[in-house]
């Protein structure tokens, strides 16, 4: 095969020594050659030794010496293979080539091809691109990528590659350069094909993978390769320092520290902890900066689950291997186990303080210890350890500079700690954010091997992607990467219990649904049935209000079908109408229909927020993290929020809801973003009730024109601002109940009572006459269904109560209620 010129820019010179080396690598590296040569070497040496000792015939000696000669030759080859071939480094750097290529110069990429890539190209050069791509798909690297993508080679057979070889090689080179590699690997060639050919991209797209996902898949393969490849002895990176046997000889004994603490540097050195390939180098560098002075201390502030402890372990590894600042190298990072600190100390007053003092004295005396305290707020904030006054013990040590300390806490607690400047000024603060999507996916990729092995399942990339997406959407108040890791493990256990081999996106959705009681997966048949007949479902509890119910039901159907705007609440409505016509009842029924339970409803009486200072009740105050609005939503984002009598709230408080309705988010008193995009918001108001009553008494027509008239009146009277009304998905008028509707309400209420009695085994019969009489008594346009409820309670429930108590009714008995039983 001669030199091949693809275009003016990129060439492959098949006479380059790399191809000969690649062939040698293939021969000498083959398992067969290795095992045969090992056998010959061992047999040759042993045989020679035996023949020498036993002094057998000259012919055997001749044979033994020649066998030994062959063994020494094979040892030569092995040494050559292990030290030269396996440690081969190209003479030119990929970054230099990539730069030359970007400047428009012609480059030869042969020297930077790795052996497998070189052999593959040499063997298949001259074939079609489709054929080359299929060969690539059959390699170990591409097989892994396809397996994790849930695809196989046959998906790509018969495809026509719509890209040029130059573009493919160019992208392969760019990929290798971007990752600071020494070689272009087969996975880079795979990327070259996949990123240049729209047809290949479309095939992946059907498997729900875009080019960013492909990049992550290839990264996954490369990290696996890096882990499984033998480390080169000639690479200084693989030689680590640890300080040696005498590093602690000049440091003091740490009896109490050892008793109440965990040596993190020792844990890291034991290799007990699997580190993810995702290093947060920038954060560990910031940790170094924060601890750069001998007397400086660090506090890491971040929510639970963002990986503060993992970061400390990563830092401990750097300290262990002497890869940080001089005064930090080879020190011991010891975590104070707060559980052990308090264990058994409650009976003795002052015992906890004494223990802490002993620990700190040890650290000072040792001189080579950095203390780490997780959840350090439990020391600084009152009630952390009951009456123990630990901060008063710790602070002098911190101020003296005789030891260094790393603390970790969450945002809420830091807010409290920082109120005391005596404490907060002692620390350099480092905010630890949650990992972004890419970092999280890489962590999950890493952990997936462990879960696959442990639970005997296969995890695809789509599964990991879905884990991230579901965790982000449905678990908003926990943080990455912990929530994704926990979800993945839960799903793996679920998958194992279901005896399924693959962790699919559907299984993940099922796990999330079970966890949050929210319908996550595509609606099943029963649920579809309920949604399609939602009006009927709502009418089982609400009488009349057909238009209102239809509007609300349509909005929910749109949301469940995935058509809602992700940056706004699920739906928002303003219910206008007189009292007792079913506004609140509709909200309860909706909460049950959409969120599974009436308990998933948050009711705020807006008449309690008539002063602007009441805003702190909603958002939280200095003393309290989160308010009556933000705290419940933070804990349960899938909630129906009912703002009762909204017109009574102070206008500035209503302005707060402008952002909620528009953006689906607000910031609480701790500057945390509270997410309302999973909530339904319904505001109710009696404003305009007179107008509504008058209109429906005269015409009974709920027309679009009347809606406009009503809104105009509300605006004119200054009850609501235009921008407020405009934010709602719908302003819905609830009409006064007619006599017939009041009758229907009576029947509903009676049905409810009958159900209660049925549980006791007692049948209730109410005659039509009685119902009509009750309706007559309960009809009051001013009070709506509430008056009916009062009448039923007074007339019917009292009657039943007297019957039950007076006649000692038993299961199987029945009660009949007729007109004559209506007293008064």
């Amino acid at each position: 095969m001669n030199e091949s010129t693809t275009t003016k820019q990129i060439i492959i010179n098949f006479k380059d020594p790399i191809f000969a080396l690649a062939k040698i690598n293939k021969k000498l590296g083959s398992p067969r050659f290795k095992s045969i040569s090992n056998i010959i070497i061992i047999v040759g040496i042993i045989f020679f030794a035996l023949i020498n000792i036993l002094k057998l015939s000259d012919f055997l000696m001749f044979f033994a010496i020649n066998l030994l000669a062959i063994s020494t030759f094979l040892i030569n080859l092995k040494l050559y293979f292990d030290l030269k071939i396996k440690n081969y480094v190209p003479k030119i750097e990929i970054s230099v080539l990539a730069e030359k290529q970007s400047l428009g110069n012609q480059i030869d990429i042969s020297p930077v091809l790795n052996f497998e890539a070189a052999l593959l190209l040499k063997t298949n050069w001259g074939n079609t691109l489709e054929s080359i791509f299929l060969k690539i798909c059959q390699t170990r690297e591409a097989s892994f990528i396809l397996y994790k993508a849930g695809l196989s080679t046959q998906y790509f057979s018969g495809l026509k590659i719509d890209a040029s070889i130059e573009e493919i090689l160019k992208r392969a080179l760019e990929s290798a350069a971007k990752n600071n590699q020494r070689f272009i690997y087969i996975s880079d060639l795979f990327w070259g094909f996949a990123s240049s050919s729209k047809i290949i991209q479309d095939t992946f797209y059907k498997a729900e993978l875009d080019t960013k996902d492909l990049e992550n898949l290839i990264f996954w393969e490369k990290t696996l390769m890096a882990r499984t490849e033998a480390k080169s002895l000639l690479d200084p990176e693989n030689w680590t320092s640890t300080g040696g046997i005498a590093k602690d000889w000049s440091s003091g004994y740490t009896i109490y520290l050892d008793q109440f603490g965990k040596d993190l540097t020792s844990m890291v050195s034991g290799g007990w902890l699997n580190f993810s390939v995702v290093s947060r180098e920038n954060l560990t560098r910031e940790m170094e900066t924060a601890l750069s002075k001998q007397h400086s201390h660090l506090i890491m502030v971040g929510e639970a689950g963002v990986g503060k402890r993992a970061l400390v372990l990563e830092f401990a590894r750097k300290v262990l291997h002497g890869k940080t600042l001089d005064h930090l190298n080879f020190k011991r990072i010891i975590e104070i186990d707060t559980g052990l600190l308090v264990a058994g100390a409650h009976d003795n007053e002052g015992e906890i303080e004494t223990r802490l003092q002993l620990i700190l004295n040890d650290a000072v005396k040792a001189g080579n210890v950095i203390i780490f305290i997780d959840n350090i707020h439990s020391i600084f904030i009152k009630d952390g350890y009951g009456t123990a006054n630990l901060s008063q013990i710790l602070i002098p040590y911190l101020e003296s500079g005789r030891l260094q300390l790393i603390g970790a806490t969450n945002l809420e607690s830091w807010h409290k700690i920082s109120a005391n400047s005596n404490i907060s000024s002692l620390f350099n603060k480092l905010e630890v954010p949650e990992t972004d999507k890419n970092q999280t996916l890489k962590i999950l990729q890493d952990l997936s091997f462990k879960f696959e092995y442990k639970y005997k399942i296969a995890i695809t990339y789509q599964g990991l992607n879905e884990t991230y997406n579901l965790a982000k959407k449905y678990i908003p108040y926990e943080f990455f990467p912990a929530k994704a890791i926990d979800l993945l493990e839960e799903a793996a256990i679920f998958c194992q219990n279901k005896r399924s081999n693959y962790l699919t996106p559907e299984l993940l959705k099922e796990v999330v649904s079970n966890k949050t009681s929210i319908p996550v997966s595509e609606a099943n048949d029963d649920e579809k049935n309920v949604l399609l007949h939602l009006e009927q479902f709502l009418h089982e509890r609400i009488v009349g209000q057909d238009k209102a119910i239809k509007t609300v039901a349509s909005a929910l159907r749109r949301a469940r079908a995935g058509l809602k705007n992700d940056n706004r609440p699920v739906a928002s409505f303003l219910f206008l109408g007189p009292t007792g016509v079913g506004k609140t009842e509709t909200c309860k029924a909706l909460a049950k229909a959409y969120f599974g339970s009436e308990r998933n409803m948050l009711r705020l009486d807006m008449s309690e927020y008539q002063e602007v200072s009441a805003i702190h009740k909603l958002l939280g105050s200095d003393q309290e993290a989160g308010g009556y609005l933000t705290k419940p939503i933070r804990e349960k984002p899938f909630t129906l929020i009912l703002l009762d009598e909204v017109e009574k709230a102070h206008p500035d408080i209503l302005n707060l809801f402008l952002q909620v309705l528009d953006d689906g988010r607000i910031t609480d008193n701790l500057e945390r973003t509270i997410d309302f995009t999973h909530a339904i918001i319904i505001a109710t108001s009696n404003a305009g009730s007179e107008l509504i009553r008058e209109h429906f008494m005269s015409s009974n027509a709920d027309t679009h024109e009347f809606g406009k008239i009503l809104i105009d009146k509300l605006l004119k009277d200054g009850i609501f601002k235009p921008e407020f009304l405009n934010r709602f998905d719908g302003v819905i008028t609830f009409t006064p109940l007619s006599k017939e509707e009041i009758n229907a309400v009576a029947r509903l209420l009676i049905k409810g009572i009958a159900r209660q009695l049925d549980e006791k085994g007692i049948a209730l019969k109410v005659t039509d006459g009685a119902i009509n009489k009750l309706s007559e008594l309960g009809f009051d346009p001013a009070f709506g269904a509430r008056q009916m409820r009062r009448v039923v309670q007074d007339k019917l429930e009292d009657f039943i109560a007297e019957k039950i108590l007076g006649e000692s009714l038993e299961r199987g008995d029945s009660i009949t209620f007729d007109v004559e039983d209506i007293k008064g």
């Binding site: 050559y80 320092s241 005498a246 602690d248």
Partner: protein, 131 residues
């Protein structure tokens, strides 16, 4: 084809053995030496040669002369223990280094002659047949 590969393999092997590998071994030798020094904590020992053993010291404030002298004696013993332990390591390190240098020298000699062994042994074996 295979013959050409074998020929290029032998040439490449000899080229690497005599011209490239010395540099690699020098690098490897340096890293091993560094590792030995690190494992024996040589730089730390030299820096803290006279430090008290495990920082075990005593000091008595405002006490009698006798007690203060006693404290001085205790500290001197602590330092002596440190010196003895550290000296032991230094001696061990010296022995290691001597052994290492000797091994390197022997290894270098063996390395130079090793590729010639197959041919030399083959010729040597002929003596047994001829005799």
């Amino acid at each position: 084809m295979e013959g050409m590969l074998a020929k290029s393999l032998i040439l490449s092997l000899l080229k690497w053995w005599y011209f490239e590998s010395p540099k690699q071994f020098l690098t490897l030798a340096k890293m091993i030496a560094r590792k030995i020094m690190d494992s024996l904590s040589i730089s730390i020992i030299l820096r803290t040669f006279f430090s008290p053993w495990k920082k075990v010291t005593s000091y008595k404030h405002n006490n009698s002369l006798e007690e203060r002298v006693r404290a001085l004696e205790d500290n001197a013993v602590s330092r002596l223990v440190g010196v003895v332990m550290r000296s032991a390591i230094l001696i061990l390190a010296a022995l290691f280094i001597v052994f290492y240098i000797v091994t390197l020298m022997l290894g270098s000699i063996i390395w130079i002659i090793f590729p010639t062994l197959p041919i030399a042994l083959a010729f040597y074996s002929l003596g047994f047949i001829i005799s």
